[in-house]
């Protein structure tokens, strides 16, 4: 029926000469569940997230809390398996910052305390996840869910930045680009809890970002953040 209607609407033309058509609606009756969209077989959307990288474990580099963060823009493809389970993958572009506290607890490459010291990584990563949905009955709506997954990424930009003020009050800023003690790859696991477009997430990096054999402490492994999906 729907097909017939759709075809008829294409075939049927209404042309008015010398008149102004101010409202025109063709009827497309939806009688089946769509394949694409929230809670449909396939759903694709972009998202943005902001997380912090706190120092939580002993032996990790001590960092400033809000200045050490991870900002992500990503695209997510979800495949619905049934009402309760879905799977999917993300493609993400992220920037991770670690602003290192200058104290004795942090092992350093040099003996100096710097005015500022940062590690900055830009990475392209992919991840796979399993989604558990908790809403027994929902419509064109993602609802409550929890994602469990794993990710891996390539740090295409790796930098260490230091700023120093000399005794003569002159400022020096040095960028160390792609140094060999910053690793090119990272991988880890994550969990997300969401209500439709709003998500809180936590990631745990299993790999090292810094080659600790060079005498450095490891950067924080946890990330906690908020994500907003670009969908209704």
């Amino acid at each position: 029926m729907r097909t017939i209607l759709s075809i008829s609407l294409i075939l049927l033309t209404l042309s008015m000469f010398g008149q102004n058509v101010i409202l025109q609606e063709t009827v497309t009756n939806v009688t089946e569940k769509p394949k694409h969209g929230p809670n449909c077989r396939f759903f694709n959307h972009f998202y943005f997230s902001f997380g912090i990288n706190p120092t939580l474990q002993s032996g990790e580099t001590e960092v400033f809390l809000l200045s050490s963060n991870r900002v992500t823009l990503g695209n997510r493809q979800i495949f619905r398996l049934n009402n309760y389970i879905a799977t999917g993958f993300n493609i993400e572009l992220s920037t991770s910052n670690f602003k290192v506290k200058q104290n004795e607890n942090n092992q350093r490459l040099d003996s100096m305390f710097h005015e500022k010291e940062r590690y900055i990584f830009k990475d392209l990563s992919g991840s796979w996840f399993i989604r558990l949905n908790f809403d027994k009955r929902r419509g064109k709506y993602i609802g409550h869910f929890m994602d469990l997954g794993a990710y891996g990424g390539y740090n295409f930009s790796r930098q260490r930045f230091v700023k120093d003020i000399t005794t003569e009050n002159s400022i020096t800023k040095i960028w160390y680009k792609q140094p060999d003690y910053l690793n090119a790859f990272q991988y880890g696991v994550f969990v997300r809890i969401g209500l439709n477009r709003y998500v809180i997430y936590s990631g745990y990096r299993l790999s090292d970002l810094i080659d600790t054999s060079k005498g450095l402490t490891q950067l924080p492994a946890f990330t906690f953040g908020l994500e907003v999906g670009f969908h209704k």
Partner: protein, 524 residues
């Protein structure tokens, strides 16, 4: 690793937090129950039943079996409401508990309960208001004709289901209602108390366009009606509204409501558009029960017309409901956001329409507000006047009268329905159609439309941009399903509609101009 453990602990807590859900547990029968209608119903409810010839001892009004309620209560987290009409109990329960309960021999069905509703829109503009619009919102329905005849909904009881009624107990727009003690009963189904004069001001606005008076000007048509005010919605507790809506309908019936106005809709949070068939949503099903008991439920079509959802939501999809779309008062045709029909089982919705931008009374002062939320109460006020005129009409007949009083009737489309109800047409039922005002000649798949000179002459150009200059059209197939509809602004006395030679499904074209409707049949 201790942090990882902490994370998993938190996630586990989250899982269990959301795992218990609300459900309707529907029973097979009402074993061992008795019912005294004279003790249960308000006198007005008895009067309606007697007047309509309904059974005072109808099975659906018997209470739910207390034995069944107790048995289910022992196996679930909590119970909240027992619906007589549905013979069902709403419960909070985990999936495991639901599995146990579903095995009881007296349980016939388990239905998960809706979680999110949408009040059908309101944008608040405090700055200034248009007194012209205040007059026009009732004038568009020929409100002055009701007033001339002394029709103001007197003796008709209207129940309003909404999110709160702050200011109804103090705002001057409702003074005449308070003075006349015409707020018969109130109940807050969220807080389980009688106080409703707080919370969301949406209900206050809705009530004002049913029966408010501002500065001597009627804001709606039913200024003489009686009211039952039910607070059924609360944003921060989204699990309860569907239960509250059902409970409020039974409460309204018990307390003698003739008309219910409900300006809410359930859409994508729970449903897909294809499920808008009047049978899937619980609230749609229970709304039909209300209609069968003589209560006319008037519901907003919804404000999804200009987004992905587009079509009407639930319960506006129910057959028994009078669904109201929105008209833009600045253009006199469908306001862009008003949800459109048909239902997915191809029934005609909306039924009628009214202004989707109105002047309303807020918690304090007077405002302009947008949304089909306000079109619905305008028509609810009209329905009260219709009921006063035709007290013997049951809900479905009254609905039919209101449809037939539409400005466009018998022309119909999925945006305007039958148009804005007109007082003159419900005062004098079966009013004759105006004289033919255009001629149609068919020639080689081409329709030549020529307006009669006195119907549309060059002097009429100052009418452009109003209903008076619009030709409404709807192509229909052999099953009377509209395939395309719209509005054409007439700027010349003659014009041509061309029909593709390949067109096979459209078998008729309905045209409406200035009150006159003609249907041209093809492929006979």
């Amino acid at each position: 690793m201790k942090h990882v453990k902490l994370l998993f602990f938190l996630f586990t807590v989250q899982i269990f937090t959301v795992n218990a859900q609300t459900h309707w547990v529907v029973f097979t029968d009402k074993e061992g129950t008795t019912f005294d209608p004279y003790a249960y119903f308000d006198a007005k409810a008895i009067e309606r039943r007697v007047q309509m010839g309904y059974d005072l001892y109808h099975y659906s009004d018997f209470p739910v079996s207390s034995k069944y309620v107790n048995d289910v209560a022992q196996h679930t987290d909590s119970v909240s409401y027992a619906s007589r009409w549905m013979n069902a109990l709403s419960v909070w329960a985990t999936p495991e508990q639901i599995q146990v309960v579903s095995g009881f021999p007296f349980v016939s069905e388990i239905i998960p309960i809706q979680q999110n509703y949408i009040l059908c829109g309101w944008e608040d503009y405090e700055s200034s208001f248009d007194t012209t619009l205040l007059t026009r919102q009732t004038l568009a329905m020929q409100g002055e004709q009701f007033r001339q005849q002394g029709i103001d909904g007197k003796g008709i009881r209207i129940a309003i289901f909404d999110g709160g009624f702050p200011g109804v107990d103090s705002h001057p727009a409702f003074e005449h209602i308070r003075t006349g003690n015409r707020i018969i009963k109130t109940y807050d189904f969220v807080k389980k108390s009688e106080f409703v004069y707080g919370y969301n001001a949406h209900g206050t606005m809705v009530m004002s366009v049913i029966g408010g008076i501002y500065d001597g000007k009627p804001m709606g048509l039913a200024t003489g009606a009686e009211f039952l005010l039910a607070r059924t919605e609360k944003n921060s507790e989204p699990y309860s509204e569907e239960v509250n809506w059902a409970a409020a309908l039974e409460w309204a019936d018990q307390n003698g409501a003739d008309i219910v106005n409900s300006s809410l809709g359930y859409t994508y949070h729970r449903y897909f558009p294809y499920e808008m068939n009047g049978q899937t949503a619980f609230v749609s099903r229970i709304a039909n029960t209300a209609a069968s008991k003589g209560i006319l439920v008037v519901n907003a079509a919804g404000n999804e017309g200009d987004n992905d959802w587009k079509i009407i939501g639930a319960p506006a999809d129910a057959d028994g409901i009078l669904t109201v779309g929105g008209i833009n008062p600045n253009t006199d045709y469908k306001i862009s956001f008003s949800s459109i029909g048909p239902t997915t089982d191809l029934r005609r919705k909306p039924d009628v329409s009214a202004y989707g931008q109105t002047i309303v009374a807020g918690k304090k002062g007077i405002k302009s507000a947008f949304g089909t939320s306000f079109a619905s109460p305008l028509v609810a006020g009209f329905a009260a006047c219709g009921k006063q005129l035709h007290p013997d009409a049951d809900a479905m007949l009254l609905k039919q009268y209101i449809q037939q009083s539409g400005l466009l009737y018998p022309h119909y489309d999925y945006g305007h329905g039958y148009g804005i109800p007109q007082a003159s047409k419900i005062i004098r039922l079966n009013s004759p159609m105006p004289d033919k005002n255009f001629e149609i000649t068919e020639e080689n798949e081409q329709l030549n439309i020529k307006f009669t000179k006195d119907t549309f002459s060059s002097e009429d150009y100052n009418l452009i941009g109003t209903y008076e200059s619009y030709l409404f059209y709807a192509w229909q197939d052999a099953n009377h399903v509209i395939t395309e509809w719209g509005v054409i602004q007439i700027t010349e006395q003659e014009f041509v509609i061309e029909r593709s030679a390949n067109s096979t499904s459209a078998t008729s074209l309905s045209l409406h101009f200035k009150g006159y409707t003609e249907v041209i049949e093809f492929n006979k």
